[in-house]
Subunit: 398 residues, 2 copies
Amino acid sequence: MKQRILLSALMCLLFALPSLAQQNLFGGQDLKSAVVNDDNTVTFRFLAPDAKKVEVAGDFAEKVEENPVGGVVGTGLLPMTKDANGVWSLTTKPLQSELYMYLFVVDGVATTDPNNPYVFRDFATVSNIFIVGNGKADLYKVNDVAHGSLTHRWYNSKSLGMDRRINIYTPPGYENNTKKYPVLYLLHGYGGDEDEWVTYGRATQILDNLISQGKAEPMLVVMPNGHTAMEAAPGESSLGFYKPGGEEERADERGAFESAFTEIINFVESNYRVKPEKESRAIAGLSMGGFHSIHISRINENTFDYVGVFSSANSIMSAGGEGIYANFQESLKKQKDNGVELYWLGIGKDDFLYDANKEFRATLDNVGMKYTFMETEGGHIWKCWREYLSEFTPLLFK
Amino acid sequence: MKQRILLSALMCLLFALPSLAQQNLFGGQDLKSAVVNDDNTVTFRFLAPDAKKVEVAGDFAEKVEENPVGGVVGTGLLPMTKDANGVWSLTTKPLQSELYMYLFVVDGVATTDPNNPYVFRDFATVSNIFIVGNGKADLYKVNDVAHGSLTHRWYNSKSLGMDRRINIYTPPGYENNTKKYPVLYLLHGYGGDEDEWVTYGRATQILDNLISQGKAEPMLVVMPNGHTAMEAAPGESSLGFYKPGGEEERADERGAFESAFTEIINFVESNYRVKPEKESRAIAGLSMGGFHSIHISRINENTFDYVGVFSSANSIMSAGGEGIYANFQESLKKQKDNGVELYWLGIGKDDFLYDANKEFRATLDNVGMKYTFMETEGGHIWKCWREYLSEFTPLLFK
């Protein structure tokens, strides 16, 4: 122990000042924030002696005004108070177990929390995040369990004429046995890319935790990029560190992703030790990814035994019913006739697609496709999608 | 094309407002920043109508004062100017090709750029980054070349009594042939973790690019965590999203990482298709990682044909010469007598370890170890380490 302390002191002297100083642009803030307290309250701290007003903008705060200052939308603002040292702080009421996102608004300007190095990117923006445990969000934490591997890889798409990035989770033990595994194909929404199920979606943590608890079968999770105009997530392609969010990079040809999907299945089944059978294939996605799941599983009418549709409907994008979207009901019926082990739908009460989802369920009823339906609180948000993945995964491959 | 435009418009209507609004805490800023212009100048923009002073703090700016406001240390501040719409902007002079980091300082408070979603974490802090190309930093970009895979994996360390996270790069084509590859073990510094060569170090991009240009042999790059008290990088272990930077998590037992390193070699050689021979093993690292490389290659005296010591020296941490640090010169001489294909050192003129490095070179001279030495501009910074990796890698396994 003495040796440890000596070493720490030595390292501190030798390294901390010159090397960290070079790199640490956020030098002056030596506070802890956001701190999740034992009672599930959360404390935020921010040093800004000269600021006149500092607020926390977070998805845990009740919305207090329609158009808050600072361009912070879709979220509430909570006022912080300043102490004699110029440190602003706020402790929330106890929060439900969840992964939350937030920023600070300093005199009307939104900023990340310099004391919290954990930020997730959502296409063109970043937010700080924290997790309140002691509940369902324990599944979203890295816990002391066996961990699977996550690989960022590229596959060649002949039909799209490019190499494309893909994220692949293999379960704990995959590398050390000769077993074959089932596969879940997991698709992102219109505002996302192949990285979003890894960051906001917490897919690797949810799988590690459910598998370790014996609640989910060990499986691969394959997370491709659903925008056929993109090679890779922003920052990971030869477009460089451009600002995403223009429509160019999402100017997908209608039906192109669905049509090209067999390439991904073939890539996975020829590169990984997986079971190449319908009963060992699942496909699910959120929003646009749910739409993709509906259509990919339908046009490949005898390929997936498990389909998950999160906060989605048929009507998005398929208007006109041309190309692969033609003969919707007939092919859906064929898919049903071929047999589907589980067709699973989840949607939040406040989702803007709630009615479209209802209409889609009527279509499923119409062709006689049985489905499991879960209605939750919330809107078109990650909170729902993490929950749906946590509910859906244990039902697969049983 | 028409269909594409229609689709984009439709998607815009259906998704952009409700779904992105929910997630986009940085709502109000619709600017492009940082924009690298054709002449290698860079333009920053920031909306803050009510701010009195906005500056750019970046490692490209000449240092203008010893203790600048906002806690922004080790970097210069450049003033931005405000237009009639409340948009602050600045265009720099042409910058040399490099990966740069920056923040904004708004009325004395440092903040990330809300229009740039690319941030890298350096232990406890984040900074925005951008790349100026047309020079050496083209190696740091994702280019339109064949890409290797990057896997986040865990290995079991018996001697440290824990599962530990490790990042492994496999070169393009690794998965599709039966060849065996050489391995570079690449180690981070005291202020880093297994992720830092992936982010600031740009190791996967440098390797992809050098391999595609025929300048480097296809090889694996293995990036472990060099702090034996840690299971994984901050945020990736069961400690959760804690604030790193206290000394507890780096309270490493002296010599423990070096002593346990054969576990990592064994893990790699039994899990990957690699050549398990001295002539196919290289080890290199920056700062503490360079120190680790000196000692790991010395105590495993006939194991590595290539050793890279970036901005480091023997004297860091080894004071006392106890344990594995005993008999330094004797074992270094033994290592030399066994034959070393390349012992490579790089250091910046302004590095605080410059003299210690000089002293280490004298020791190498003393035992007759031949080495290649590269002296560059700069201090104890990533700019140097990316450059050293770019210089070192092409010399390996020839």
